[in-house]
Amino acid sequence: MYGLKEDLTAELPSKYFSLEGYEKGVARWCPGCGDHAVLTNMQKLLREKQLDPAKTVFVSGIGCSSRFPHYMNTYGFHGLHGRAFPIAEGIKFRRPDLHVFVVTGDGDCISIGAGAWIHAIRYNMNMTVLLLNNEIYGLTKKQVSPTSRIGTISNTTPDGSILPPINPVQTTMGVANVSFVAQTADWNPAHMYETIKAAYEHQGFSFVHVIQRCPVFQGGLVDELTSNKEAMVYLEHENGITVSEEIARTFKQKLTHDPANLSAARDLAMDDTKVYMGLFYQNKDAPRYDDYGASNLGFTVEQKEAALNHELDKFAI
């Protein structure tokens, strides 16, 4: 019987982590910012999974969303603009015991960090990645982002931006060795929770695109999406991300999509008339670079000494 040992005593976890155990400080994001909802959901996920805060590391770059690690009572690394991925990869490389999360924004990931992002997808190391995309630079006060729509008026594009946005979901699925791509939105916390849970459970690089409000600099953006119920499409599949019936009922549009089908997933990502919510693509068999990283751990000093002596012999006169 689960939880009971032969002498019928219960196998209790040595320590139970409450929600408060994951909380730290008061988040300094603007009222109404989508980041708050992500933070709350993440703390809930860690409690449900009972992740040891000492074995959990949140890594971020620079930007509003990258303040995230400061509000988690885990280990955290608030890094450089665009460089969360290499740091997270280095952390995970020789520490398979650590749970690694990356929180990044549209400027951090898609603009200055684009090179590291593309390669992080290919490395496919086991980490959960949340891209909090509000389509604008917030921390530096309203500059256009590579995900801003054509015509975005910002402090650096006073006459409206002229280039089409980069679609993070589409781009991610264009990279070799992609293994998990999902999309959710900050105004549907229940869907977001199930999405980040599925992402955490995936063994590999789980990329979650969170469509998000910036009430201060992109106020109208989400109103348009939330008011047009027809535009939001719930992706259904037995291997996809499933929400409760109550939440599923809030979607006017539903579509059955097999997350094993990469070309269908790419077609959905290309469709800019709709926003698809759920799991676009998953491949549980993609090679993982962290498997290589964990491949020869635990050598003793004696083994290292023998290896060095062996090499010195080759150079001996």
Partner: protein
Amino acid sequence: MAYTTETKTMPATSSSKATKINEHIVEIVSDSGEGAQKCGQSFAAISAKMGNGVWTVEIIPAEIQPPARSREGASGIRIRLGSEKVTNMGNEADLVIALNEQVPYGRIHQNAYREGTTMLLENKWATDASEAVQEKYHAAVADFKAKGYKVIEIPMEQECLKIVKNARKGKNMWVLGMLSYIYNRSIDKGETQIKTIFRKKAEAVISANLELFHSGYTWAEANLDFQYEIAPMDTREELVVMSGNEAIALGILASGMEVCSMYPITPATSVSHLLAEVIKNSGGLIHQAEDEIAAVGFAIGASYAGKTAVTITSGPGMALKTEFLGLASMAEIPLVVVDVQRGGPSTGLPTKVEQGDLLSTLYGQPGDVPKIVMAAATIEECFHFVILARKLAESFRTPVYILTDANLATGQQPFPRPQIKKDWFAPPIDQSPWKADVKPYDWDNQTGLSKRPIPGQPGGQHTITGLAHTSKAHVSYNPNENQEAANLRSRKFAAFQKTLNPPHINGDNKGDLLIVGWGSTLGAIEEAVEMARSQGLNVSSLHLRFVSPLEPGLKGIFSNFNEIMTVEINYSDRPDSPQFTKENRRYAQLATVLRAHTLVDVDCYSNVEGQPLTPNRVLGVIKNKLGIE
């Protein structure tokens, strides 16, 4: 017959016809891809194994495949060997083997040869199908003779074709055989060397190369009327011989570091070639990142997670890594950075030597970023400094930089076999519970030092940041906190400097002139100072290993000399040329640092010719400074 030097061999001593000499400088020059370096490295290894002192310098063109028979395409190697320890590449070559008549000009432009240099020249060009080539060949031979070289034309191609179909592959081993005769090397050791370097090749390849080696040896024995004997060094020490980059790779093994995160860049890359083969046997891994920035970020991530890592690069890579290096200092994350310097700025001289990264390493980041910077002066130091760097990085919670250069990277030198100590290797990472009352930056007010919690340690949770932060690792919003944290980050290095000894002075501790150097110029400077002192000049030298913090006592040492001058391989304005004056002159990099730190009027000599300094060049500088000749 042509196969003779003009000066006849000295009458041989009774037991041998070989001329006894103390040292010789040999060069092999060829087109790229003819294996001159493999031949020279093998010759050096055989010589070292026979007990000679050895120093090698590779001659590398910038392109992978420069045009054949071109002066700028000269590729090859110099080997200086002697019956005492050899510390630098020396002056002009005594014997040159050239596989065509154009490539020596690349070296003649660098004053590498002298009147009396023996040149063993491939003669196949004399009968080349192209008349233009024949003409060039004859013109060059006449020119070489006019320059006073002893030219011996040798049918290398013809002899090799008796054994292999394509003499281009294999001529180098024929040359190795010829050299082995000339310097009376052991045939057994030559055979062993060939079996080692071709160990991954088919049996047929090994036997063909052995045959070529024997053919070269036999041909030389039958046709050359000179032979040299260089006695072994008088040492009973167990020695190893390797290049600086190989020494760094093995130093990484010895330090116990398990992660080397790098991106390919000349001349640093070959460290990772050896390391990739051997680190897996020692419980470590190499990560080739997508770029220089990611390489250092990855290393910082691994270090932060308790596995102190090393990143290896050269100047352009250092420039790209700058922001991350500032973060590592700000967040106090241990890290080892090896910069194998090359000619700069920008892409510069990728395969050539320069000591041009000192100032950018010291001051490259925005804000105040104090750090430890060491400069290896010998190949042995390349090995030992990595071990020291890992320990210092962890003890002082800081990036530690090791500067080497293209000269050390590819040069080979024997040194005493390291006697391994168990405490060289990094201990397992601490995962014990973190004491609740100890902050993540629990700075000691006297030393600035603090212990760091490593992910996995229960109760040590904190978020590190490149933002100004408090001792609790919280973002700082108070101006005094930033001032105090900066004070403490600097204080660590003042505390470290207290543990350093004053530098050793080579020569008397007072005199007319003190030459100050750093890095790979050690051997050339000390040889020049020795020559100067034997000529009665009152000169000493001092060589810095720690350039940040500086070794203590410099101002006091300087006060005992009339003149202080650095000798470096980097740029400085020459005060006697247009526009430059003593007031507006920009000094060489170490001179700039020493002037700022000591307020002593330190002069400098430096150049950016991309060549290692020769002892004669330094001697000329010394004499010029003292107003002699």
